[in-house]
């Protein structure tokens, strides 16, 4: 049996907000329970982060608020430029092709990459959707960027995606503000899937939803992952969500990855004191 090929390999990712000083390392990190340097006020949002993501795998990133998990996700989404490091991407459709470093792409190519190969679902729908456009218009954006120029075909594809994400297709021309929170998350998922991405990024997708809606959204993500063998990077502070979806998990605290491994292993036998605290408080 051959090992599944990786599609994304990140290493040495750093992101700081501020100038930094020689004493930053002394005062920040999980050991000091602080990511902001008290001397120069620089926030070390992500320090030397790295991971490997295999095709068809769901990798969870868990941690408390301010731990750097969303920064890491946004660096992969090429929306936040990393200060240093590499994100190697291997195209799953052409596995023999040489991997490319996403951080070396110019703005024009990275925008095209983001549109064609990545899909993202945010916690707050207004970040992922334009509330002035209709639901159909929002889903159509990625198709139009991919040079779809036939309104009939575009609308047929939107309806197909709406059915796939359990949204009523007859509401294609309704405004997003007439949809409930759970439905808006599904609209975001439909938009993210419209370009058949290689990698789906999920940023706290179920936060702020009530339990029954959460379960429905999670079921949908699980079904899509199963049916399309979609590779996903899932950020959540909720271990329950991570447990349901992610095969492997990395735990972040104060901008550092403190532990990584199989999700079951992390939940049953956490090694790092912070992970132990996280697991004991969740279960």
């Amino acid at each position: 049996m051959t090992a599944p090929t990786w599609i994304l390999q990140a290493s040495g990712l750093n992101k700081q907000y501020g100038p930094g000083c020689p004493r930053c390392q002394q005062f920040t990190g999980p050991a000091h329970n602080n990511s902001q340097c008290p001397i120069c006020n620089t926030v070390h949002a992500c320090v030397d982060a790295g991971f490997t993501l295999h095709q068809g795998e769901v990798l969870g990133i868990v941690g408390e608020s301010g731990s750097g998990k969303s920064t890491l996700l946004q660096m992969v989404n090429l929306a936040t430029p990393a200060d240093s490091g590499h994100i190697w991407y291997r195209e799953p459709r052409t596995p023999d092709a040489e991997p490319v470093d996403l951080l070396q792409m110019d703005a024009y190519r990275s925008r095209h990459f983001r549109n064609d190969r990545l899909g993202i679902v945010y916690q707050r729908p207004e970040l992922g959707l334009n509330m002035r456009f209709t639901v159909g218009g929002n889903v159509a954006e990625k198709l139009l960027l991919a040079n779809w120029r036939h309104v009939g075909n575009i609308r047929a594809r939107i309806r197909e995606l709406m059915e796939q994400t359990e949204l009523p297709p007859e509401r294609i021309d309704d405004a997003p503000h007439t949809f409930s929170g759970g439905m808006l998350q599904r609209v975001q998922i439909a938009k993210a899937l419209s370009s058949s991405p290689s990698l789906l990024l999920l940023d706290e997708v179920t936060s702020g939803l009530d339990l029954s809606v959460q379960a429905r959204v999670l079921d949908l993500i699980r079904r899509i992952q199963w049916e399309q063998q979609m590779t996903m990077l899932l950020v959540s502070h909720d271990l329950g969500v991570i447990k349901q979806l992610a095969r492997r998990t990395i735990v972040m605290k104060n901008g550092h990855i403190v532990e990584s491994g199989l999700t079951d292993q992390i939940l049953e036998d956490p090694q790092h004191p912070y992970t132990q605290l996280l697991v004991s408080s969740a279960l």
Partner: protein
Amino acid sequence: MSTTPEQLYNFGFIDEDSKREVRRQILKAIALPGHQVPFASRDLPIARGWGTGGLQITMAIIDANDILKVIDQGDDESVNAVNLRRLLQRTTGVTTTVDTTAASIIQTRHRIPEEPMRRDQILVLQVPMVDPLRWVEPNLERATVMHGESDYGRMWVYMYESVVKAGDLRIATQYPVIVAGRYMMDTTPIPRWDVMRLHNAEALFLFGAGREKRIYAVPPYTTIEPLQFEDFRFKTEFVAGQICARCGAQDTFLTSHFVVDTTNPAGGYWRTSCSDTSFCDKRVLVNTTNQEAPQ
């Protein structure tokens, strides 16, 4: 010898350094068709929004040997056109004309003259809103990045929404186009009738926005592609059966106006006529003298 107040100003009103700066930006705009080039818009003796952008371009490029035509809504005699023409004429002393074929520089708002323009002519357009992305991205900084990356997806969604809401592409004016396959450009308040007349035209088109401090250009023989879908094509305005009440034209851009019946306050009627008045006058003359009709 007495001196008129206008003669106390520099040739073309604005100072030579300002003209040089405008000309430099015009050259840059011509080198990057459709790209909005910032320029230091000067104060003029007319209010911003009344054609100061176009006026500064004309003032920067005009020469004593040029023949100038100024139109507004296709009309040589509208208030705006008359005042701009008078200012330019008094501060440069150039010859002015209403004949499109005789002019070397034509300053215009809203229209491209009906008669095809030649390679030795320049059309200067007064622009109210420069950026087509303003409809979908009000933040100027983000819109600039979108232009830089050819990120026009949201504008396409705007077009899609137009089809969904109105059943067709219902953008009457400021129709967005892609210039030379690269930049998206606002076609100023020219009607859709004139949009495709920019495509591969012989003349140079210069667009100036004084209030927004931007210049852009469509050089001769540049491709212009209006945003359209395979099943919803770009269309020009056309109302079957409408003809010009003066010259009988059916192949020009027509405007309508209400004719008041002075004998009956409740009376009156709507009349259509050519928007390009000098072209209409020529045709009227041809009709009355049986000369060869202008093309």
